[in-house]
């Protein structure tokens, strides 16, 4: 070992490395600040955009049932109900399907079939939503029209959204199956339960929190999705009278009219965006709560 004072060298190099540390720290703090600023800016711009409309019309606009921009009437109730019905129905369709797919993948995890199915799910999850929209318009809507016209409808959009969100749900549920404690699996095996009993009576109840979380993720995606509903739901502003009725959602409404809206109309669209933002925050909050419970258990 070398001895003797090296303090001057230490001080010198210490200063330079302190400087590098400070740079790294400043860089990461700045980046964090930018991402927070982005969120604040989004909230600020949407609120600012919506404010003139909200100040002029008040909360009554939200519950108004007529959306007719040319007539200066901006009731958002049908849009809100449309969003809720389409995304709710899509989860009702996608969740059981996703759960069943996850069971299929999980029970055949080590076989060629299971691996294929898993890859297939990942591929389906990567298909852009506009492509699902195109498929919905060219394949699903004509099918629905054969049952009852006009075709582009609540049912068509929900089916399409369900197929779109189902892979994500299945992947999440499959991951939860794989996280099951060894003891649970061994316990089921020790009782000589049939595979079906083990799955439905032991595994599925054990991961019900994760299934709920997957359902919320599916709901959030469906609620925030624009392209599919814009292309497949029919875009008629009305309360849904049945599964075959054309409707318009909040997202589709913005997508359709944003390009040309002016003044009050534009502000009303921002109010729609604000509603969406609030709904998205609510689902995100619900997800965080469910996920925390799942993790804690």
């Amino acid at each position: 070992m070398r001895k003797g004072a090296r303090s001057w060298i230490w001080l010198g190099s210490m200063r330079s490395s302190r400087c590098a540390d400070r740079l790294v720290r400043a860089f990461s703090a700045l980046a964090a600040l930018v991402s927070i600023a982005a969120l604040v800016a989004i909230a600020a711009f949407v609120v600012q955009g919506a404010l003139p409309f909200l100040l002029a019309e008040g909360g009554s606009a939200v519950v108004g049932s007529r959306w007719a921009p040319q007539a200066g009437s901006f009731g958002m109730a049908p849009l809100l109900v449309g969003s809720a019905v389409v995304s709710g129905l899509s989860v009702v369709l996608a969740l059981p399907l996703g759960l069943l797919l996850a069971i299929f993948v999980h029970t055949r995890a080590e076989t060629r079939g299971g691996r294929c199915a898993r890859t297939f799910l990942v591929i389906l999850a990567a298909v852009p939503s506009v492509v699902y929209g195109l498929w919905g318009l060219t394949a699903i809507a004509p099918l629905v029209r054969r049952l009852a016209p006009p075709g582009p409808s609540v049912l068509a959009a929900s089916l399409c959204l369900a197929v779109m969100t189902m892979p994500t749900i299945a992947i999440m549920v499959d991951a939860a199956f794989r996280r099951l404690p060894r003891a649970t699996v061994a316990g089921a095996a020790a009782l000589a339960l049939s595979p079906e009993t083990a799955i439905w009576k032991v595994y599925v109840p054990a991961i019900r929190g994760a299934v709920a979380a997957a359902g919320i993720v599916g709901l959030a995606r469906a609620l925030g999705e624009t392209m599919v509903v814009l292309m497949v739901a029919g875009n008629v502003v009305q309360f849904p009278t049945g599964p075959f009725a054309s409707i318009r959602t909040l997202t589709a409404n913005i997508g359709l009219e944003m390009a040309y809206a002016m003044d009050r109309h534009r502000s009303a669209l921002f109010a729609c965006g604000l509603l969406l933002l609030v709904a998205a925050m609510a689902t995100a909050g619900a997800f965080a709560r469910v996920e925390r419970r799942v993790v804690r258990r």
Partner: protein, 283 residues
């Protein structure tokens, strides 16, 4: 359970697979027929004619490439930096700012894409006066993929073994050295994976681009020009161009092909990096 119910229950997953296969098969069949009808060298190298019913998709390919590349270039440093900020195991154990940022990033990740589009339109297109341009589009997309990137990179940083962090702390190594020598190598596969997921997300995005990068189907001359991405092209052909379905399906086939190639490349790169690492450990 009776034998009958058990059989029934046992057959349910298979039925779900059958339904999914039919749905996915019909989707891919549509894309396949579109590709069969329109794919040629000219489809990828020529400008569209007849509002896109005929001709190619060259300007859209180019616009997509520019928007996605620019969005990634803008998002990558922010994502990496913020992930390093959130990864607090190097520092002494205090910091309320981190909780704030973590929550903020989660919330940002939950914002619907159409709201990103509105915001991009209000800030970049109007307030900052960038107009409908590739720049406005990629800035909007960048903000959109930042939360995704942060989440993936943080999970990568979390794979850094505690022992290495302690070793660094015990040697009094500064953050800069630790980041360069220990954290970045550990997070590299995650960073690549995050960038790829971001690319896939950006390629697929339509709603956020409708009011930011715009519809113009010309070849953009600069980032200040409006440009139509592949996904917007698909939307426009389907909804606004009667008889545009075949072209829409061919474009969708091209887009899906692009997304798959990106994902394939990425999983290859991640595999290559992690295999190189484990080989180093085995030798």
């Amino acid at each position: 359970m009776s034998v009958l119910t058990r059989r029934l229950v046992a057959s349910l997953p298979g039925a779900a697979v059958a339904i999914t296969t039919i749905a996915a098969g019909s989707l891919l069949w549509g894309l396949g027929t579109g590709a069969w009808a329109r794919f040629s060298l000219g489809f990828f190298t020529q400008a569209p004619t007849g509002a896109g019913r005929t001709g190619g998709i060259a300007p859209m390919l180019f616009s997509t490439l520019v928007v996605v590349a620019l969005a990634l270039a803008l998002a990558a440093p922010v994502g990496l930096g913020a992930a390093l900020f959130l990864h607090d195991r190097l520092e002494s154990a205090r910091g309320a700012g981190r909780v704030l940022v973590r929550t903020g990033v989660d919330v940002l990740g939950a914002v619907p894409s159409i709201v990103f589009g509105m915001f991009g339109n209000a800030l970049f297109v109007r307030t900052l006066g960038f107009g409908f341009s590739l720049l406005s589009g990629s800035l909007t997309l960048a903000i959109m993929i930042v939360p995704l990137l942060i989440r993936v990179v943080v999970s990568g940083l979390e794979t850094t073994p505690e022992a290495h962090l302690q070793a660094g702390a015990a040697l009094g190594l500064g953050r800069a050295t630790m980041v360069r020598a220990v954290l970045l190598p550990a997070a590299l596969p995650a960073l690549v994976a995050g960038l790829v997921l971001g690319t896939a997300r950006a390629l697929a995005e339509t709603a956020a681009l409708l009011f930011t990068s715009g519809y113009a189907d010309r070849m953009p001359a600069s980032v200040w020009d409006s440009g139509r991405t592949l996904s917007v092209h698909i939307y426009d052909l389907t909804m606004n161009v009667p008889g545009g379905n075949a072209s829409a399906q061919a474009t969708a086939a091209a887009l899906v092909l692009g997304v798959f190639i990106v994902e394939l490349l990425a999983s290859g790169i991640v595999l290559y990096i992690s295999r190189g690492r484990s080989q180093g450990e085995d030798a």
